[in-house]
């Protein structure tokens, strides 16, 4: 993301803010969709995140953390949404999936969905937000070493579940 553009956005330039958010809209979509499993809810959360980013942008002191800050707000929005809906929403009806992929997708997706949220959000950030462990640590306000070990735990869990399923 263009550092000068982010700086202008944080200083109150609305057009710059729009461009910054549009430049990561795909990542926002994947993050929200993978956590919520529903594109309509994901859209609502991204809109709510946009509003909060617009209102609170002046609280961001370091422009280089803009993206992690936006992702953090989005993840919190998604958590709140999950809390409101109280459960995981079935993905089948909401995803555009080629029929040949459907079985594999459903099965991996169910496994990921069953992960505890603190593990799932790390997987989501690593896979879809192209973040390294340090950046994920920034988002979660968690030490990098903890993020790494949680990531390893998440992968291990997925591996075990997959092996069990395949057997």
């Amino acid at each position: 993301m263009d550092a000068e553009l982010v700086k202008s956005a944080l200083q109150g330039d609305d057009e710059a803010l729009i461009l910054c958010l549009q430049s990561i809209s795909d990542q926002l979509t994947w993050t929200a969709v993978s956590l919520l499993g529903d594109r309509e809810l994901a859209k609502d959360c991204i809109m709510e995140t946009t509003l909060k980013v617009y209102k609170k942008r002046k609280t961001v002191k370091k422009p280089e953390f803009f993206k992690t800050w936006v992702i953090r707000i989005l993840i919190n929005e998604c958590k709140d949404e999950l809390k409101r809906s109280k459960n995981y929403i079935s993905l089948d009806e909401h995803f555009e999936i080629a029929s040949s992929e459907k079985e594999n997708f459903d099965y991996v997706n169910d496994l990921v969905a069953k992960l505890p949220l603190d593990l799932k959000q790390i997987i989501v950030m690593k896979f879809f937000d192209e973040m390294n462990f340090r950046e994920i640590g920034e988002v979660l306000k968690t030490p990098e070493s903890t993020v790494k070990s949680r990531y390893a735990v998440a992968l291990k869990k997925l591996r075990m579940e997959m092996e069990e399923y395949e057997q």
Binding site: I18, V33, S34, N76, K79, F105, P143
Partner: protein
Amino acid sequence: MNNNNLDRWQETIKSQRIEGIDDLIRSKIENQVRRPLYFQWKVVFTGMVAVFVSFALLVNLNPRFNAFAHNNDILRPIAEMIDFTNRNDVEDAFDLDYAQQTDIHLVAGDYKLDLEYVISDYFTISLFYELTYQGEPYEGFTPPKTGPEIELVDSDGERVWTSAHNTYFEGYQWMELELIDLNAFEPLTIRIIADDDDKTESESATIQNSPYKKVEMIKQELNQAIEIDGQRIILDSLEVGAFVSRLKFHADPENSERIDQMTFSYQNGKKQAQTVSASWTPNDYTYLFAVGQLNRSGPVEVKIVEATFIQKEKIDIVMDTDTLQIEGLPNEVQVIDQSKGEDEFRFSLLNSKGNYFSAVSKELGIFGVSHSLENPSRTDFYFKSTELTPRRIEIELHESRDLKIEGQKFRLEW
């Protein structure tokens, strides 16, 4: 691990698009920008509204004008009314990710405690929880039946907080705990104790209170002296936490009177409040204000409204428990009432200077001093005698006065 499956899952997620998301982001922001323009449209037609809107915009958009308006006696009331620049509240704590989700669920007897979030700074912890009794929200019992106790203890089982304030935030009960010391943090254990029908049940869990999510304390050195009726206090510092601030000050050692039990009144936005608690040693004071980084509505104006002054100079008197004679009283003080029962003595003093007395006596087990608000020049003394009570009792008197204070105010800003 079957990486192909995971890769394909990723690819599928990455193929998902929300139609028109970029346009939606643009329109969401542009709608926010247009909102003040709508008000500006009215400006053309209404002169008065124009002035008000311009003033409001200046206060909210221009930090220098904001400071000027808040420091101007005439503009301040209007400025505070329309100042939205600092309208932080608890929701902000959640938005800004200070709230730590805990997901702790404890059961003790018929009570269930769901601790959902914790927000902490370096001297307070706020617990956001739901408490139910037999499945229904717990709303307290009529005494003598009592509800459960919720405790926060350290790894040795020692309580880590000194005072608690309960209120509500949205669906949660919100308990704010002041910590005993700044290091009384981790590991913290929350415990619920139910004491019903001669049976005590409890359950506890550890709170994972991440140091990364603590609200950083803001500390300001003040070094500001205030004179109250001839006695000076020096404001030392202000420590601003999440929802509470600590004002620390000390009394000038040259003061002829000790200042005791001060009452501060302060305005946080539209809310009027008084100091919630205080601690002090003879010369150093700490007062807590229920306003912090996350719940301030604007600059906080503090007024000193009441204080008790106690003369440092003492008057030593001696009372003979047989004859009830009192020695050492100054001329302006008269004994106006005296009585002796089987195991108790009473007497009252009238001070023509109009002040009452605070008193101490090391020799008495049970000793009471009181004065009436209507007649502060009269002080009543009571003590219960025992076999160990000596014939002559030494008492140390200090002239004291309660003062209503006007016009003493200062501002807390950070």
